[in-house]
């Protein structure tokens, strides 16, 4: 059974207002999660009330500052410190700020854009790959077994 899950995309500056609104409606904060995209980060703020699951989503650039919601939901400080330490995002005004000492990781910000391999491109249909257009040389390398992606330690930009 698939549980209905609402995801509401927001601008960064509209986050606090929307969170305060959910707080006023009696929602509890379930979690804050972060996902690394190609050039940005996606943050999901999940809430629940009477088994109604709602997500607020913001997409931020690496240099963006995010306002902490720990002033509204005091338990948010753990998630925000986690995101700061694992993704390197700047979250300001966290109620209990560990300043990077929350997680002891072997490499700094392991989930940041710099440390995450790019997602593998979807495979082209085999027919299209094998039949180059007339008069055009096939420039692509022959198909190989997909390699296991390795974390990139160098910036590729």
């Amino acid at each position: 059974m698939s549980e209905p899950q609402e995801i509401i995309a927001l601008e960064n500056n509209a986050l606090l207002g929307a969170v305060a609104d959910l707080f006023a409606q009696g929602f509890r904060l379930v979690q804050i999660g972060c996902t690394t995209l190609e050039n940005a980060y996606e943050l999901n703020y999940s809430f629940d009330k009477d088994y109604q699951f709602k997500n607020l989503r913001i997409t931020v650039q690496p240099e963006d500052e995010i306002q902490s919601i720990s002033v509204i939901y005091p338990n948010a400080f753990l998630y925000e410190n986690e995101i700061h330490d694992l993704f390197g995002l700047h979250i300001k005004n966290i109620s209990v700020d560990y300043k990077g000492a929350f997680y002891r990781t072997a490499i700094k910000t392991p989930f940041s854009i710099e440390n995450l391999p790019k997602p593998e491109a979807p495979k082209q249909p085999q027919d299209a790959a094998k039949q180059p257009a007339a008069g055009q040389q096939q420039t692509e390398a022959p198909e190989q077994q997909p390699e296991i992606p390795r974390p990139q330690k160098e910036t590729t930009e």
């Binding site: 899950q5 997680y103 002891r104 392991p110």
Partner: protein, 359 residues
């Protein structure tokens, strides 16, 4: 005049099976604040999605924790199955419930033992683990494993349990009830136990909700929230009502777990009676593309397995929000105003699973 001290508690402490650290700020023996510190054994399993494809990752998810192992792989598989719109056979859903409840059963009995050890009742600890062994035997007979079940896969489960074995399991669990009643009556009624737990580590109903408590910790403060009510797997066909206590202290958290032990036995009985015949898995074709938050009720509370996939065999993101992580803010509140001598009991009645937290 009271002296303010900072007392380090953990990461290595006799009552802590796993490392977590608190800086306890005290006025004499009274705790006025507590600052938690985790990640002494952080493993970074979430990052393994870069190296293990979505099929293999079910085994990684199971290894997040030794006590809730089955439910981690179950949550993960449910997330991927939802993304790929895989209709899992109904028999598989019932089998998942049976193994999940066996997992909850042995986890709660194990907790009773560890809690007994924390308040100095070592023989009760040994008796609890003796009873738990019977549950582990059932798990071993049906899955081949005692800690890691290895039964879940994307699209179903690997093994079936025949009707005769199911009947035997229900019979054995029913006969265990007498021993369990005798064992749990000590936690419920014993003067010494109540003396150590009643009124200790109080969390109010409002605080429990506001601070994001989950599981027995939330239900012990009066909230009837249990993710099994969502109706995942076969729970939608079973009669499951959240176990609720209202006093919000260590004893209430203990009572919730005690009653959930018997609830799990009843759920296994219900599932064994209603399980339909049929296949236990379906073939999985293609790769996942999409995202889903899978929410299930572990022994320690609501766990979230978030999966985001981009159409390749490697997931873009896998995140686990574990119940212990969610219960840490309330743990701080429970510690404030307590005596230093009560700290081990308070921490243990939250049933911290650091292995999950350090995923």
């Amino acid at each position: 005049m009271a002296r303010t001290n900072v007392i380090p508690f953990g990461p290595q402490h006799p009552v802590l099976p796993e490392p977590i650290h608190f800086e306890l700020i005290t006025d004499d023996e009274l705790i006025v604040d507590a600052i938690p510190s985790i990640s002494f054994v952080h493993r970074g399993l979430e990052k393994l999605v870069e190296k293990r494809d979505f099929i293999d990752f079910a085994y990684v998810a199971e290894r997040i924790c030794g006590l809730c192992s089955f439910m981690h792989s179950m949550g993960y598989c449910q997330a991927v199955e939802n993304i790929m719109a895989i209709e899992v056979p109904e028999r598989c859903q019932y089998l998942r419930v049976i193994w999940a409840e066996l997992g909850r059963l042995h986890s709660h009995i194990f907790w009773l033992g560890v809690a007994a050890d924390a308040f100095g009742f070592e023989s009760l600890f040994m008796q609890s683990l003796r009873v738990r062994e019977k549950v582990l035997d059932i798990i071993e007979e049906t899955t081949g494993g005692r800690v890691i079940f290895g039964m879940n896969k994307v699209g179903g489960v690997k093994r079936d349990i025949d009707a005769e074995t199911l009947k035997g399991i229900v019979g054995r669990l029913t006969s265990m009830k007498n021993i369990l009643e005798e064992l749990t009556s000590i936690f419920v009624d014993d003067y010494s136990v109540k003396h150590r737990l009643v009124g200790v580590g109080y969390i109010s109903r409002d605080d429990a909700y506001r601070l994001g408590c989950v599981g027995p910790m939330l239900r012990a403060s009066g909230y009837a929230i249990d993710m099994r009510k969502i109706g995942y797997a076969a729970y939608k066909h079973l009669d499951v009502e959240p176990v609720v206590e209202t006093s919000g202290d260590c004893h209430a958290r203990c009572l919730v777990r005690v009653r959930e032990i018997f609830q799990s036995i009843d759920l296994i009985r219900q599932a064994a009676e209603k399980i339909p015949e049929g296949p236990v898995e379906v073939k999985v074709k293609g790769t996942p593309d999409g995202e889903y938050f899978s929410r299930i009720e572990q022994p320690r509370g609501e766990v979230i397995h978030y999966v985001k996939a981009n159409g390749t065999k490697y997931l873009q993101r896998f995140r686990v929000r574990t119940p212990t992580f969610s219960n840490i803010p309330a743990m701080i509140t429970a510690l404030k105003g307590s005596q230093v001598a009560d700290v081990p009991n308070i921490i243990l009645t939250i049933d911290p699973c650091i292995s999950c937290t350090e995923r």
